[in-house]
Symmetry: C2
Subunit: 197 residues, 2 copies
């Protein structure tokens, strides 16, 4: 597994840098000059690849919209693993919330383009949960999927302001209760019963 090679195209280099700066410091806080300077290119080159900052913002968000990879693990495990992954990301020092929620919060309700992609992203995550729950035979997979994304986004928002990765564990525990309540087998029920030999 070689480390990823230096990005090939200019466009990709711009996007990588924009991603880093937009995400870590905020879209409004970063000017195109800053991005160009960070790469060491002229502002003119940047504008030769993206017609406007808005276009760059849209491309940044679209690039963040990565679909979940398929997995052959049992669905219940996949669902709970989501929260473990979340906890790892919270613990990383370069985590700064959900880029889509942040963009909507930053750019305001008037920016329809940003809102549209944010909605699409949130819905894709919800559907991912729903499909796993359907595989598990959960009756109202739709409703439970919504509840699970609430826990995900809630823990992200809480971690954003508190910097506390434990929020992911709390979300996982709540998710476990909700899953068990829906009839999904998720290991031993809380803490009752002694270790079964």
């Amino acid at each position: 597994m070689a480390p990823p090679p230096a990005p090939q195209t200019m466009k990709e280099r711009i996007l990588q840098t924009a991603d880093k700066l937009f995400y870590l410091q905020g879209i409004r806080a970063i000017g195109v000059d800053t991005i160009a300077a960070e790469i060491g290119i002229s502002k003119r080159t940047l504008y030769n690849h993206f017609p406007s900052k808005d276009a760059l913002i849209a491309a940044y968000l679209e690039r963040r919209f990565v679909h979940a990879r398929p997995s052959d693990k049992p669905p219940a495990e996949q669902i709970l693993a989501t929260f473990d992954s979340l906890e790892r990301r919270f613990a990383a020092k370069d985590f700064r919330g959900c880029p889509f929620v942040n963009a909507v919060a930053e750019l305001g309700p008037s920016d329809r383009a940003v809102k549209k992609i944010a909605i699409a992203f949130k819905e894709s995550r919800r559907l991912w949960f729903r499909d796993r729950l359907t595989e598990l035979g959960v009756a109202d997979a739709d409703a439970l999927a919504t509840q699970l994304v609430l826990l995900v986004d809630g823990s992200i928002a809480q971690d954003l302001v508190r910097d506390d990765p434990a929020m992911a564990r709390a979300a996982k525990e709540a998710a476990t209760v909700l899953l068990r309540n829906a009839g999904v087998d998720v290991g031993e029920p809380v803490k009752r019963r002694r270790a079964p030999k």
Copy 2:
């Protein structure tokens, strides 16, 4: 119940207008000129009451930090009523997420003052839940309180991007399950059993 009289002091008028504009359109999106123009005062007057925009932002957030009013209703009802109130606020067209989370998202991680008040607010909400749960005799009130704030913030974040007040109902249903799982009496268990009588 007379409608609230026109605000008395200049400072209060400034704060009311700043609140409206900052909250609805974003802190970075609104300049002090805009606020002054909206009230019909000169920018100089505004700066006579607040030494800087940062001070105005801080005052805006502090004014948003209203503590929950005491209630004599049963604790379980109070907790669940939180989500009904949330749903009503989502349905209002002037709802635009949590001002504290938005401010942190907008102003970035470097703004310590904003982050500090945001943390204080989030913790005060969590402690409110914890106190209600303690009244109910819930064993691990701390952990459950954290899970409940995740549902609150999750539904706020989801509604911010999706404009869907149903997120509050989903949060309430999840909260009901979590409460029942902790031994709190919250009415009939889901949908089993026919109408009694």
